[in-house]
Point group: C2
């Protein structure tokens, strides 16, 4: 059974991470990974700061969660992310076999559903649209500031 | 103009990296990134050693090349890899906008061409089959040893 209140609570943490990215002038995407109601990793996008295209929030969080849990498969975990994962991140989510992925805003231009709809593990549940309004507003504010 | 002898020389370096992975009991995949005939990064798969699904050879090499060159876009670079990149790595190659990708063995099961054929940057040239026999043999030896 999906507990929407719980999903919103964790998505709010991911949004907090995204705001830290925003404040650091990074595209504002934040991630939290949760294992049995415990947060095992949180991260935000650091591509500009590190000068590294692979430093998306999800990639860092997957590496961090695996280190925290002591195993590379995250089969008991849910990944919350403010924006639909790109193909690279969805590929990593596929390898890590997460139980569930919850995202806020969809990404029609760069999201994995456009380029690689079958990349996730067949057992991974996906939910979108959690706190979507706030996730989208943060992205819009960021790109308005850039113009 | 494609210089096959040069491609084979750099693929042989990637194969050397793959052999280091083999000796460390990792799936034997190796990568070299070259910028204007200079090797700027080399790496091999470390997923088991690091317990991290994101530690594919290409991911590490992209991070390393960006650090070496001081910029996150690798538009003057060629990535040599012994096995067709997976979706995660192809996504990263797309973000980094590499000029060229050269791979040895194809990967029908997990390769990006099956799941996300349009994920690379539109300007990226792709070549496959360089030293394919040796790349395939190394993978076969690895999985035969595992049985």
């Amino acid at each position: 059974m999906v507990d929407r209140a719980k999903d919103e609570r964790f998505m709010r943490m991911a949004l907090q991470e995204a705001k830290e990215a925003f404040d650091a002038d990074e595209i504002p995407v934040g991630t939290v990974i949760v294992c049995k109601d415990r947060v095992v990793a949180r991260a935000h996008n650091l591509t500009e700061c590190l000068g590294d295209v692979t430093a998306h929030a999800e990639m860092q969080a997957i590496t961090s969660a695996a280190a925290s849990l002591g195993g590379k498969y995250l089969t008991d975990c849910t990944l919350y992310v403010t924006l639909e994962p790109c193909v690279m991140c969805a590929g990593a989510i596929g390898w890590a076999q997460l139980a569930r992925v919850v995202f806020g805003a969809g990404d029609e231009k760069r999201g994995y559903r456009r380029f690689a709809p079958h990349v996730l593990h067949s057992k991974t549940e996906v939910e979108c649209g959690v706190l979507a309004g706030e996730c989208i507003a943060l992205m819009k504010d960021f790109f308005a500031k850039k113009r």
